[in-house]
Amino acid sequence: MSGRVLIDQPGLDEAAVERIRADFPILLERPHGKPLVFLDSAASSQKPVQVIAAMDDYYRRYHANIHRGVYHISELATEAYEEARRKVAGFINAPSADECIFVRNATEGLNLVAFAWGRRNIRRGDAIVVTEMEHHSNLVPWQVLAQETGAALRLVPVDDAGLLDLSQLDALLDGAKIFAFTAVSNTLGTVNDVALLAARARAAGAISVVDACQAVPRMPVDVQAWGCDFAAFSGHKMLGPTGIGILWGRLALLEAMPPFMTGGGMINVVRLQSSTYADVPARFEAGTPAIAEAVGLGAAVDYLESVGMDAIHSYELALTRIALDRLAEVSAVKVFGPPMAHRTGVISMTVGDIHAHDLATILDSEGVCVRAGHHCNQPLMEKLGVPATARASFYLYNTASEIDVLIRGIEKAKGIFGIA
């Protein structure tokens, strides 16, 4: 699995994208009287009517708590919840749906691994390896685990091109128990070679934990081909609702893990002094879960599969190449991140000395939504030598003409700030 897919064909033609756009009601909104140009899908994607309708349908027709009810609508709800789990499992080619745990988001999934696997297996003197390009959600849980256990936290550096510097990886992985890394950088758009990194971790005797947040929405993902041990991702970045995400893990690892949170739904036998726990995945889903959100995520998977992940990936790469070409023609624009062959549809930039927040405010006045800030990646920002960047990210509903609007907005910002 890698980002080096041929982009000779755009993946989706103009008519297909217009049909897709018609499924997203929010694209009819006109902020500040301008058409909405949503270039912040890496933070959270928009939702098609199919997802909204599936959740609405659940609430209108068969809302009930799952697993415990013996009546008809509870059965329907339980079946829809478990069907969503099977859909997600198929989507990432998990060997078993039981390996897909519903969590709130990737952050919770990563914390679950750090808490349940980490606190059982990490001892003083062990090493935990992460990379410099991690989102805070795949850095801070490991910092805390290292601090609590006395383990060492080691960092794989990022080179000037925005790629992982793997030259010292063997030394870094020596004695490591965990190698946690992202599949795609949310800041630079760098696509990492997950299969290679997972294999290196395995060879060193470490488990691999993949932040798959940016990968699962935008490229075909096969966790078996990746060969990793855990992968976490959020539903809201892949057309699904907020409040639902997935932690996938190898069954043998999950079965050996103690619970993360405890309470109802995750037990087998409860006595006053002690309890036994349910099997995976229920063991890790304490309390009433986000049922409607799971149903919505299932509908999102259906939608993505109906378009096709290969087509989505190719189209996003085509948009990215167009955007990089256009931005290269604009003076004072500096784009961060690796060359096209190693990236996907996330572009971080600065424009002259305009602060990213000022740029984003001016772009907003043109209806263009970009993210401005450190992208939950403060150490990487320091490395890039900027306090913040503006980040444009593309998805299946974006168009080349929206890139024109972005460019015009950047020119407007340059005008206001007097930059040639």
Partner: protein, 128 residues
């Protein structure tokens, strides 16, 4: 949807002037109080050095980096508070600071516009 007069209103010439040429920029040799803070959402950072004579702000400098709104707001603030008493500044409301700024600030940019006064009040609190 509130448009707050648009970006042309936000990025007026005097705001950009204070951003490009901040007043009272730099540090003080022997400040009575110093405080630095940042806005973790966007990385705006401001440090304020204050010299206090009696109960009045005799001199003030600020150093920082960040967006035009945060830096211009801090610059304007330093001009406004010089000669004022510590108590007067501590009682300055956010609204008063925004009024002094003279532009309409949307909710998401409030933290930028108010970072300067937050840092200054924190600095003055060290005096007590």
């Amino acid at each position: 949807m509130n448009d707050f007069g648009g970006v042309d209103d936000l990025y007026r010439d005097f705001i950009l002037d204070h951003y490009r040429h901040p007043r009272n920029a730099g540090t003080l040799e022997n400040p009575d109080v110093t405080f630095e803070d940042n806005n973790p959402l966007c990385g705006d950072r401001i440090r304020m050095d204050v010299r206090i004579a009696g109960d009045r702000i005799e001199d003030i400098r600020f150093a920082g980096r960040g967006c035009a709104i945060s830096q211009a707001s801090a610059s304007l603030l330093t001009e406004a508070v010089k000669g004022k008493t510590v108590a007067e500044v501590q009682q300055l409301s956010d609204d008063a600071v925004l009024e002094n700024l003279g532009i309409s600030i949307s909710a998401v940019r409030l933290k930028c516009a108010l970072l300067g006064i937050k840092v200054l009040k924190s600095a003055l609190a060290l005096k007590r």
